[in-house]
Each structure stands twice: as structure tokens, then as C-alpha cells.
Assembly symmetry: C2
């Protein structure tokens, strides 16, 4: 069976998975993408969905449409549940898939560090569904507070929004929430907006740790000016339906705790066996192969790759660069070449947005914060977004948001309609 076309299975249609398939453009193989959803989600803009700037369709793009011109690619929409590396089979909730090469790029899920109540009562921010839950819930809180004419205490609890985690997600979410509140202010003449409070809670002494100190300080200044109360060196102890308990014994009454404090690798990864780090990532070889399984590659948030003594961060550029090497190595193996490429990450820097007209960008010697950084941030995100139509609609919405200062998507959609409405 020398002429049998190999079957490459890619788990996950995130940045890593999509980049892998792009890099496998000219390969003579059958490629199957396995994903729970039928779309590629542009995660960096999820916070804009959760704060009513963008719509679902703006930041998600059908996987099939991305690879429409390549007939050797099919999507298998299913939940990957386990890997049988010995028999080269991927288990899914819609049946098993045999593979010759497997790329594990299943991404991450929220890490609640074993705090069951936090898992139960806080809002994660990893999926479209979670982002919509946050949007619906936050907007609902304003409607409910507006009806609470008797109790300031109840209103204050409803109008206290807590983001936990000072990384890019937490910072961007807190900044965008502050702007959403400013828009809401115009629409609730009977609400006292002094009762609204946005808190950003971070366990360490800094936000955006990957940024240089001056940009970190700039970020703090901008967030505080927007009305975000930044609480550094503050650790979470527990959570309930009524609020958040801190390690120092403080209780903050709130109906909205948004969890952006940590991620861990998709549970699928652990079913494989090889050694994982604390975050559930596989400690991979220099070639990105999984130890003991040369035909399995782990990339992106599923791979623990050490460079200069530190594991690489769980960010999109790492996944994209790893995808190229994993794809190259699969092609080499198909051709029977023994010498595979070793991965090395080139760090071009990082950026984060804090709000309208304000972002921080750190690229080598370029370290800026403010309007120009925001323009760079916008331009690059539009470039990286899938689909021309999304560029147009997102660009239009951002322009409109910039001009009018409003939020287009303040629609509460999780209403349960019974038969009688």
C-alpha cells in the first residue's frame, strides 16, 4: 500500500489548527479538522462581543468556507474525547477517527484552580457562548437595578462588575466594560451611576506583565481614569451567587464576576499520557512531537515548549509559528525524510487595548501607549481577522463606535419565551 494517501487529523480550528492547515497547502494527504464548532473564532476580540461592540458573526468564520477551494479537507464537527496513540485513533463523541498524523491544537479552557464555587458562579470568557452570557447578564443587571427603587444596597450589588485577572483579557474586558457603562449612562436617566463600580482584581503586583514598566503604569493610569478600580496584590478565596471573597477576608457584593485569571489545556491532551505541565500542556520535543508518539504534534496552548529557560506563553503568535514547523515536519515525514525541523520562537512583541483610542504596543524598541498604538492595534486586528466581509463590518462598527461613542449590540437575547411570550 505504498500509494495510500496519508490521513492528517487536526484537532481544533483555532489559530494553531488553521495555520497548520494553511501550511499544509500542497500536501498530498486527506486532512480532517475536528472541532466542537463549525467556525474559527477570533478570540482576541471576544471581549468586544461580551461588551456589545461586535456581533457573533463578526468574530467567527465558518471553517468550511476558509478551505472551500481545497477538496482534500473536510470538517468533522465533534467533540474530541481522547487519543489512543498506540492504535493511532482519535476518539470523538461522534465516533472514532483513524489518523496517520495528528496535530493537537485544541486550545484551552478556563482554569479555576480547583475553586468549585468560582467555576459555578463566575463567568468564563473563552467561547462565543460565554461572551454572550456576559453581555446578556451585564445588560440585564442595568434593567434589574433600574427597577430596584427601594434598595441602594441591592442596586450597588447589581451594578458592581468584577474582572479577575490582570492579563490582556482582564484589562481589555475591564476597559471595555467602563466604556459600556458610559454609554448606558445616557439611557438610564433614573439610575444613579455613582452606584456603578468596576473592579479589576489581580493577584500579583502588576497588570499586563509582558509589557515594560512604563506601559504598565500607563495602563493603570488609563484604567483608573476610566473609572476602573484596579486592585493589585489581591487574591481570590471563594465566590458565591452574592459576591466575591478575597483572601484577606473582604467580601465584595456583586452579581458579576468575570474570570480571566487563568487557562489550562483542553482535557483531551491529558488522555494521551506523556508528561504535562501544571497547565495541562504536553512537554514537547524540539520538533514539537509528543514524546513517544512521533506522528503526534502538539502546538499552541497544548504544547509546553521551553526556550531560554522559560515555557513559551499561550498566545496566538506562538501557535502560528509552531503550526508552520509542525506542518513542515509532517510533510518531511510523509516524504520519508528523517531530519526534522526544530522549533524556535521569534518574539515580535505584544499589544493590548485598554479602550477607545488607548492601547499599548511593545515591539522591540517601539514601546508606545495611546492613540497611535490603538491605531496599530486596530489595523493589525483587521488584517488578522478572517474574511473580507468581517473586515468591512468590524471596520464599519469600530468607525461608528469611534464617531458616535455608542455600543451597537446592547441587545439582551437570552430571554426565555414561553408559548404565550
Amino acid at each position: 500500500m505504498v500509494n495510500k494517501i496519508p490521513h492528517i487529523v487536526v484537532v481544533g480550528a483555532g489559530f494553531g489548527g488553521v495555520a497548520t492547515i494553511r501550511a499544509l497547502a500542497d500536501v498530498k494527504a486527506k486532512i480532517t479538522i475536528v472541532d466542537r464548532t463549525n467556525y474559527h473564532l477570533f478570540q482576541p476580540l471576544l471581549y468586544q462581543l461580551s461588551t456589545a461592540v461586535l456581533s457573533t458573526d463578526d468574530i467567527s468564520f465558518p471553517v468550511r468556507a476558509m478551505f472551500r477551494r481545497r477538496d482534500n479537507i473536510d470538517l468533522f464537527m465533534a467533540k474530541a474525547t481522547g487519543i489512543d496513540g498506540k492504535n493511532k485513533v482519535l476518539h470523538t463523541n461522534h465516533g472514532d477517527i483513524a489518523y496517520d498524523y495528528l496535530v493537537v491544537s485544541a486550545g484551552t479552557t478556563n482554569n479555576f484552580f480547583g475553586m468549585e464555587n468560582v467555576r459555578k458562579y463566575s463567568y468564563g470568557m473563552k467561547t462565543i457562548q460565554e461572551a454572550l452570557h456576559i453581555r446578556n447578564h451585564v445588560l440585564h443587571m442595568f434593567e434589574r437595578a433600574n427597577k430596584q427603587i427601594d434598595s441602594e444596597q441591592v442596586r450597588r450589588q447589581m451594578l458592581t462588575f468584577i474582572c479577575v485577572g490582570g492579563g490582556p483579557t482582564g484589562v481589555e474586558e475591564a476597559g471595555a466594560l467602563a466604556e459600556l457603562v458610559a454609554v448606558q449612562k445616557l439611557d438610564y436617566p433614573n439610575l444613579n451611576f455613582d452606584e456603578v463600580s468596576i473592579k479589576l482584581i489581580e493577584a500579583t503586583d502588576k497588570v499586563l506583565p509582558m509589557m515594560p514598566e512604563n506601559l504598565r503604569n500607563y495602563t493603570l493610569k488609563v484604567l483608573r481614569k476610566k473609572g476602573v478600580e484596579v486592585m493589585l496584590n489581591t487574591a481570590v478565596a471563594d465566590c458565591s451567587e452574592e459576591g466575591l471573597f478575597l483572601k484577606d477576608g473582604t467580601f465584595i457584593p456583586s452579581k458579576t464576576v468575570i474570570w480571566a485569571a487563568g487557562v489550562r489545556a483542553h482535557g483531551l491532551v491529558a488522555t494521551l499520557g506523556p508528561e504535562c505541565d501544571r497547565s495541562g500542556r504536553i512537554i514537547v520535543e524540539k520538533t514539537l512531537q509528543v514524546p513517544g508518539y512521533p506522528e503526534i504534534f502538539a502546538i499552541g496552548d497544548n504544547a509546553h515548549f521551553e526556550q531560554d529557560g522559560h515555557p513559551l506563553p499561550t498566545v496566538a503568535p506562538v501557535a502560528n509559528q509552531e503550526a508552520v514547523v509542525a506542518a513542515a515536519n509532517i510533510k518531511k515525514m510523509i516524504k520519508g525524510q528523517e531530519k526534522l525541523r526544530e522549533f524556535s520562537y521569534k518574539d515580535y512583541g505584544s499589544m493590548a487595548t485598554i479602550g477607545r483610542c488607548q492601547a499599548v504596543v511593545s515591539w522591540g524598541y517601539l514601546r508606545i501607549g495611546g492613540f497611535f498604538a490603538w491605531c496599530i492595534w486596530m489595523f493589525l486586528h483587521l488584517l488578522r481577522l478572517e474574511g473580507t466581509h468581517a473586515d468591512i463590518t468590524v471596520g464599519t462598527k469600530w468607525l461608528w463606535n469611534f464617531i458616535s461613542g455608542t455600543r451597537l449590540g446592547r441587545i439582551i437575547t437570552n430571554i426565555k419565551f414561553d408559548e404565550e411570550q
Copy 2:
């Protein structure tokens, strides 16, 4: 208490409710809008949400943002459950609201004509949630059929889409589904699209009954050319999870029955007492007052108003025109004037779209079908849509749809993620 400001309560933020409040612009009164949702839904484009052309936010607009400049207006987001006309109190699931004047414009809900299984197994098309259910379900059917490599019978059942009702909703939905199928065809190289079937079922002998005969025939021709099987004089008997039973004994295997065959007035209306018609609409006075309750007005789909021997149709223009008269009469009553305006409907005609580049328009002597009618349809819908931003995004998406022929929103969003994704 001569100087007490009257309280006008408007139930429903649909076309009638919104037009009433607009017409009450200069009134010295407190106005409360009661709606289950926080948005005004542009119902005529709901079928485009259900067929992945537009997004939720494109066709829904926050009610508070519409009346931001008028401080005497507030939204009370709640489900109106009953009217106590004697004590002038509206009951809601968030408490009672006392009114001096009440406008009942709560719209309609699906009418399943007592067929319990149809209610249970078919898909309604009245709310954002229902439209998204249809979209998710239809897209899912393709993914599932693509995995059914063994059974043509199962695939055919999954790929049979039935619209019941030959009015504008059914026709527009069937036409848009046919176009969605054409787009899907590009993305499923392994599916045999001869197995796909779209059926439009109508109990009478015509579709779009309000249109002249030549445009009705044109509509049939266009639908059939698109691949829609139009079944006239075909009555539904029952429905199950596996398909649709017709009165003649035929069973059509299908997982997708979209119900656009009838509406009835919101259940709230019946709690008032006065005589209602078969569709649950209140038979109103010439002044649009509810018999026995001069301070209550019923308009739009909640009012049965006879003109020229026929009740007016349940369409937006009727609601809009009635709103103006109801508002005028409330203003007269506040001023103590006894002579109220009597309503008379001016019919400007109707239109419906059958698909990309094809619509029918019937305005007096102008009776056209085709591309020019479609341009008129698009232009007028953009004009009537709330919010400049929606004009821009919807206009952009339509243009993109026209140029590229693709569907932007083919995203399945109702996936249940458990903790492990």
C-alpha cells in the same frame, strides 16, 4: 390633583408601540414602555437572521437608545401578564403598573391552531431566539448529514426542509433557504445535493394572497426555479420529530418544519375581557378604543378593525397608521377634548422578496416583479430600519452578499460546552 402628569403605558416595542411613542413626542405625560425584551425587533428581516444573511444586532435596536433624548420615557423590561381595566392596572411578572392610558400593541405569537405536536416539533419564526434556533438547526443538519455516510434515507430526512404557510414569511424563508443551500453546496464536496429538498406547503390555492395574480404566478415561477417545491392546496394534519403528516395521508420525513402558517394576538389581550375575533384580536371602536374601556387603545396585531367589510391585515403599515390615531386620541383626552379621531386605513400596497435580485411590489398601478422590485424592497427596508449603524452594516452585508453570493453568518452557536469543552 389637576396638575398630576398622566401616565401612559405602552405594551410592546414593536412597530405599533414605537410609532405610538414617536407620535406622543410633545405630550406632557410620563410614558412607560413594557416589553419582554430591551429591543425593537425589525421583524420583516427575521427570515434573513434565520438564513445566515444578517446578525442579531443588525435587526434589533435597544429601545432606550431610541428614546434617549426624552427623559419622560422609561422602559420596564417585563412580561405583561394581564390587564385589570377596572382598576387601571397592568400586571407584569415584575409587579403591577398603574396607568391612566394604556396602548395595547403587544403583537402576535405563533398560531398552531391547537395542533399540539406542531407546536412541539415545528420551528416558529416570531422572535430572535426562534430565528437563531432555525439557523443553528439547519446548519447542524448539513454537518450531521455529512457524517451519515451509510444511510441515504437518513441523509434525505435531514436535508428536507419544510416551510408551512404561503404568506410573505413562508415565501421569503423558503426562497432564502434555497439560496443558503446553494452556498452550502460549495462547502460540502462529499454531500450529494440532489438529496436536499425544500418544500413550501400552503393550504389554499395561492401564495402571497395579497398580490395580484401575475405577481403570484411570477413568485411561483421564481421559487420553483430556485428549487423550492411549492405544494398548494396541501393541509397539515400533524407533526412528529420525524416529519410532517398531511391531511391526505402523506408523510414527509423531515427534521425541519418551519411554521409560518398563522399568528394570533398575544395572550395578554384575552385577559381584558371584551370581544375578540378568532385570532384573539380585540374588536375595537372606530377610535381604536377598547369597548367599555375608553382609556385603553388596541392597535396593530392586537386590534380587529373592520374596513370595507374586512378586518385589516396584521401588517406593519396598519400598526403604524393606527399608532398615530391612538396617540392623537390620547392627547385629545388629556386635553379634555371629547371628539376623538376615527381611524381609516390607507393601503399603499405590499411587497415581498423571493430571493437575491427578486422581489414583488404591488403599489396601486405599480405592479412589478424582479430586480427593480428588489431594489425598491431593499431601499425601503433600509429606510425603515432603526439606527444609522444598522443601515450601514445591513447595507454592507447585502452588498457583500450580492457581490460574493456567500452567507456571512453560517455559525452554529447553540453548542453546549461542558467544563472540558
